[in-house]
């Protein structure tokens, strides 16, 4: 198959996959350029340069040491500028996962009913597994329809992320429960609505001079950015601002800490915008030129919103913005009107062009015809503008790059408007009167004025009242953030590292839109240390996605049939959807059979504990006719599977790796050791599933061409490298071994090495395949209906025209103290938050790794000592945490860094040491407490934080087995101390890897 064809196909498929984080995996032979590093006693020690996958995201460069064919340790690689030689605790513990005695090593089928405590796993062959899979899914789909299948996605602990895209194609079903629904997905989708998918990534390695950590702690998570980078950035920054309900590990050093009440981030964000606008600290030129701020909103309620047929990802949307077509017969409905401040006349920005990047990302354009995209006509432009990519600029002035040696990059100077144009942010008193084409007069005000109206309610004093922070601190933080420390650089102080908590209080979409707007108005989009989106590199799209390069022979998933769209219509948008079916709707559908029966599916490290109510989820999953799990372990979710398939660990496979975020590097994960027994890289497993379902994975006519299972890693890596100067995987790997990761700023100067790419036409096209980039158009601006960063969301306006939501707002969490005060009436009532990062774990992973568990044996509840004294509990006590749904236990940690009245719970604990199918997830699992119906109103994201709980001491009298320590069904205590001898039984098993 020709490279270009393959690339184009891959590209199109990829686009169809929407913008979830994914990638391409591939290893075959392990011809490594191994570096010899002397000997230590026994055999020779080799060191293999690689990229860690101990967490769900960050690409820390590492060295894996192998002696006598065994991995003996791994260390950080200082040549990896993106991670600075960092290798976190869980990353270093990876070898204990690779060699864990409890690893799944063979395909297995269950022999006991699903309510049994023991699944009765029985080893089967890969052939039997695949035959059963092919038969069962085909049978159920022919009976109930394609959509009866759904996938469940984790975060690719193993490798691939099939459920986000490939498995949807394989089974021709849009249905998938995806972890990104509650992690990054809302941020990605918010930016997809506002500007471009995934511009929620801040270029932390660009070392912003004001470092704002908002609800995150990458120093502990080590995903998004490495600990070492995070601490380095914070230390070098002139100011470090922390917005977080609790004092975080790095936040202890913050210059300003805004300890807001959980769930009030949106109010805080609006408060910052209020300060920025009132103090005139916004980037006037950027706001007018690159945001839809000056566009005109028709105020008259009886006016019927008109459609704009955008070529962008947004597609055709009805909205209240005034278009040329509204005032002129034959006018363009993608020419958005603005008032020219210089002459008081209306003018426009035409957001469609002869071709735009997004037009080729249309899923239907599977057979992309590149030549036809160069039709006549202009690229998007202001009236009278003959737009050309900006070229003037200068080298960035990022401090502190000397240690890592990364390059500065080139900052395009902000370009002025063409002569005679300066779009107004404000209309005359009472609004601008405009005559429509039918002669009717309407009044218009700018989007900016609407934003001003919205934030006017959120004065620092008002925000102080809502959030519990001090008004002067709020004002000071916003002022420091938005006041340029060095105006001579021509760019702002940096972006905002806004994280998960903003997604978890039932206002996820709007809160993240607020953050995106805040970064926009302060001029921190695509600037050094600003919001930059996903790195352009090789592969062109994120990490190891399983991306079939062949088209489906069974048709495409019908997005309109996605579960959950009755409640959340945006889920069914043909192009601009968040890509998931919300978890609660899926589980409810299993229960009710409405609107159709869900009967079967595949989980690829997917688990039921990360969103919706875990107990409800588990009960529903048990009812499925057929479930397959691909995993490393017998997790609680694996415990209800019919067939389980053993996956390889990151030390056991070959895969190109690119920064998922804005770190700007790409390298590789290189196989250090063979997988144990019959475990396989899950890319290969996904390919097997395609084969079982009769869907080609690669183009070709023979089975070996369609499903190159034995060469899966190699083949896919070669696809990913198409267009790079080192196009062959084996050569690439060798170069990586010698030199370490590549700097995307150097390798992709236009797509990544240039800042302010909205000025060059690369802001939205940088992550296209190289071959496509070479011939495609690069339009200015952003990938939205208006071509501008959308303060006024045309998509939300389309779906919720009467809800006043086009400008984002704040909404109280449904079970917080304001919306549900009854939950907060007695001494034992607390407002619960959760999800804080635990350095030795990645969410629920690594509970069975001794080096991790001994450093963090049990889940803890952080409580202010004043509260603890009041309710009579002490450090180390087990307490019950109760909602009307369930009660769990965690251990009290007296923590002055959390406000009285608030508790911080750890999330998603389960206990691999328990000999039972559900692994005790209900003992301490925080999401068992959730109201499954509390969801974000637009995209269904679960309410994971900011709800009321009761907390009281666990005693022998009120605990099962008379034991405050949580116990399994047989009364066995969970491991709760580093001295527990069971930890030693989990030490690496170097012998048990050969096939038995």
């Amino acid at each position: 198959m020709g490279k270009l064809t393959m690339t184009r196909r891959t590209f199109a498929k990829m686009a169809a996959a929407t913008a979830a984080a994914v990638g391409v995996a591939a290893p075959a032979s392990s011809a490594l350029a191994e570096t010899k590093t002397g000997t230590t006693g026994a055999g020779e020690v080799k060191r293999i340069r690689s990229t860690c996958r101990g967490c769900g995201k960050m690409e820390c460069g590492v060295w894996v040491y192998v002696q006598d064919g065994k991995v003996i340790r791994s260390e950080g690689d200082e040549a990896a500028f993106q991670s600075m030689g960092n290798h976190c605790s869980k990353g270093q513990a990876s070898l204990q996962a690779a060699y864990h005695p409890d690893r799944l090593k063979y395909p297995m089928k269950r022999t006991n009913p699903k309510d049994s405590n023991d699944p009765g796993w029985q080893r089967i062959t890969w052939d039997e597994a695949m035959e059963t899979i092919g038969e069962k899914f085909s049978e159920l789909q022919s009976k109930y329809g394609n959509e009866t299948y759904f996938s469940m996605a984790g975060t690719s602990r193993i490798w691939s992320m099939g459920p986000y895209a490939a498995l949807k194609q394989c089974f021709v079903s849009p249905n998938a429960i995806q972890a990104n629904e509650i992690c990054k997905g809302p941020r990605f989708y918010a930016t997809k609505l506002n500007d471009y998918n995934a511009y929620s990534w801040m270029e932390t390695v660009g070392r912003p001079r004001v470092y704002v950590q908002w609800g995150g702690a990458s120093e502990l998570s080590n995903y998004d950015d490495s600990c070492r980078t995070t601490v380095d950035v914070a230390t070098r920054a002139d100011y470090h601002i922390l917005v977080d309900p609790r004092q975080t590990n790095l936040g202890k050093e913050a210059d300003i800490w805004l300890p807001l009440r959980p769930g009030t981030d949106a109010a805080m964000g609006l408060g910052w915008i209020n300060v920025v606008i009132n103090k005139g600290l916004y980037d006037d030129l950027y706001v007018r030129k690159w945001m839809n701020a000056p566009m005109l909103v028709v105020e008259d309620e009886d006016w019927e919103p008109s459609v704009s047929d955008s070529q962008s990802t947004h597609g055709s949307k009805k909205n209240r913005l005034l278009k040329q077509s509204d005032i002129k017969e034959g006018g363009s409905n993608t020419a958005f009107m603005v008032l020219n401040e210089l002459n008081g006349e209306l003018t426009y920005y035409e957001s469609n062009g002869k071709s735009v990047a997004s037009s080729v990302t249309d899923a239907s354009a599977a057979d992309l015809n590149l030549s036809s995209s160069s039709s006549s006509g202009k690229l998007p432009h202001w009236e009278g503008e003959d737009w050309k990519p900006a070229t003037a600029g200068r080298e960035a002035q990022i401090h502190g790059l000397d240690l890592t040696g990364q390059s500065q990059g080139f900052v395009i100077d902000a370009t002025p408007f063409i002569d005679g144009l300066y779009p107004a942010l404000y209309t005359p008193e009472g609004g601008l009167e405009v005559t429509l084409k039918d002669g009717k007069k309407v009044h218009c005000r700018t989007v900016w004025e609407h934003l001003c109206d919205r934030v006017a309610e959120y004065t620092p004093e008002k925000v102080a009242e809502i959030t519990g922070c001090k008004a002067e601190d709020i004002e000071r933080a916003a002022t420091i953030y938005a006041t340029r420390l060095d105006p001579s650089t021509g760019y702002g102080n940096g972006g905002i590292q806004y994280m998960l908590p903003l997604e978890h209080s039932c206002n996820s979409l709007q809160t993240n839109r607020i953050m995106d707007i805040l970064c926009g108005i302060t001029g921190n989009m695509d600037t050094p240390g600003g919001m930059r989106g996903s790195t352009a590199g090789w592969p062109f799209f994120d990490l190891a996605m399983t991306l079939p390069s062949a088209a489906s022979v069974k048709g495409s998933p019908d997005q309109s049939k996605i579960i959950g769209s009755d409640k959340f219509p945006m889920l069914a948008d043909p192009k601009c959807n968040p890509s998931w079916a919300d978890a609660t709707s899926i589980y409810k559908t299993i229960e009710t059979g409405q609107p159709y029966k869900l009967s079967c599916g595949i989980g690829q490290t997917g688990d039921h504990m990360n969103q919706s109510n875990s107990l409800y989820a588990y009960e529903q999953l048990k009812k499925l006719d057929f479930w397959v799990s691909i995993d490393l372990w017998e997790t609680p979710t694996v415990g209800i599977a019919d067939i389980v398939l053993p996956a390889a660990h990151w030390m056991e496979l070959d895969c190109i790796r690119k920064s998922q975020g804005s770190s700007g590097s790409f390298g590789a994960t290189c196989k250090a050791v063979e997988p144990p027994a019959e475990a396989e890289p899950d890319l290969k497993i996904v390919m097997r599933i395609f084969k079982a379902m009769g869907q080609p994975y690669c183009e070709g006519s023979t089975d070996d061409e369609k499903w190159p299972i034995d060469d899966a890693e190699n083949a896919c890596n070669n696809i990913a490298l198409a267009g790079f100067r080192i196009p062959e995987w084996q050569d690439y790997k060798k170069a990586f071994q010698e030199n370490g990761p590549w700097d995307s700023k150097i390798e992709k100067p236009e797509a990544w090495g240039t800042y302010r790419r909205y000025e060059t036409g690369w802001a939205t096209t940088s992550d296209s395949p190289a071959a496509v980039q070479a011939v495609m158009d690069h339009p200015q601006g952003w990938d939205t209906s208006t071509g501008k960063q959308e303060i006024w969301s045309t998509v939300i306006d389309n779906y919720y025209p009467d809800d006043d939501q086009a400008i984002p707002t704040f909404r109280e969490a449904p079970h917080g103290p304001v919306a549900d005060p009854d939950l907060f009436k007695d001494d034992n009532s607390f407002l619960a938050t959760t999800g804080r990062r635990i350095p030795v774990y990645f969410h629920n992973e690594h509970r069975q790794l001794p080096w991790c568990r001994e450093l963090w044996p049990v889940p803890r509840i952080e409580m202010n000592p004043e509260d603890a004294e009041r309710i009579g509990v002490e450090q180390g006590d087990w307490v019950w945490i109760e909602t009307k749904e369930h009660k769990i236990r965690e251990v009290v940690d007296l923590y002055h860094g959390i406000a009285p009245g608030v508790v911080n719970l750890e999330h998603q604990w389960w206990f691999p040491e328990l000999k039972q199918a559900d692994k005790g997830f209900a003992l301490c699992g925080v999401n068992c407490l959730l109201d499954k119906d509390a969801q974000d109103p637009f995209i269904g994201t679960s309410n994971l934080r900011a709800y009321g709980v009761k907390v009281y001491k666990a005693t022998a009298e009120n605990s099962p087995f008379g034991n405050p320590v949580p116990c399994g069904d047989d009364g066995t205590e969970i491991i709760h101390d580093s001295s527990d001898p069971r930890l030693k039984a989990w030490a690496p098993d170097y012998e048990g890897r050969t096939k038995a």
Binding site: S74, G85, H87, L95, L855, G897, I898
Partner: protein, 213 residues
């Protein structure tokens, strides 16, 4: 006699625990036993604050054998198993250890333990197998916060080296080009000294050091 030691910049230590696992991976420390630990100190109300949340501060204290200049453990050892090595570190010759554990009792910091399998006392060796070859201890090279530096206390802590083979002194400066912020002599602390003269140092700027020195 030199005094090899580690200095930890507590303003940069974030309790990521990478040093703990690094030590395990490199030194084969038994599961359940520790050569180093990172304790959380606080959060405690700050002296100048309201006495309540949110006027609190936390720091993370990395504790291991302090390789004292005048080690009690060496004094009490009946066999000379615990000794000051030629490089100035405190080491245990396991072949001489009778497992009496008086050294463990005499250590002010509790960092020694009996290895149940070998039935001898163990503790941090400062990765002598690495430092003998001019390399840095594993807990220094793998420190997540870039907060740890190794060197000879007699040469002054600014001569200590960390990742990227940089000395602490080279990295100190006020502005963004420097990842280590300046500190005063009074910002440099050590664990409680009961006559053993611990060699390790801790830099803590702007906040109260808890516990005696």
């Amino acid at each position: 006699m030199s005094h090899p030691a580690i200095v930890t910049d507590l303003n940069k230590c974030v309790g990521c625990l990478a040093c703990s696992v690094a030590c395990k991976a490199f030194n084969g420390v038994p599961i359940g036993s520790f050569w180093n630990k990172t304790l959380r100190i606080g959060p405690y109300p700050t002296a100048e604050g309201s006495g309540h949340f949110p006027d609190v501060y936390t720091y993370f204290l990395t504790v291991q054998c302090q390789h004292c200049a005048d080690p009690e453990c060496v004094k009490v050892c009946p066999t000379g198993a615990s000794h000051i090595a030629a490089d100035g570190t405190v080491q245990i010759d396991k072949s001489k250890c009778i497992g009496c554990q008086f050294c463990a009792m005499s250590c002010p910091y509790g960092v020694r333990y009996l290895n149940d399998e070998e039935r001898v006392v163990e503790k941090c060796t400062l990765c002598e197998q690495k430092t003998a070859q001019g390399e840095l201890p594993q807990c220094v090279t793998q420190c997540g916060g870039f907060a740890r530096f190794f060197g000879d206390l007699d040469e002054g802590i600014e001569s200590f080296r960390g990742p990227y083979n940089k000395t602490l002194g080279e990295l100190i400066g006020e502005d963004g080009d420097y990842p280590i912020k300046p500190f005063k002599d009074s910002d440099v602390h050590h664990l409680p000294d009961v006559g053993n003269h611990p060699s390790f140092r801790y830099i803590l700027r702007n906040h109260e050091w808890k516990g005696e020195e």
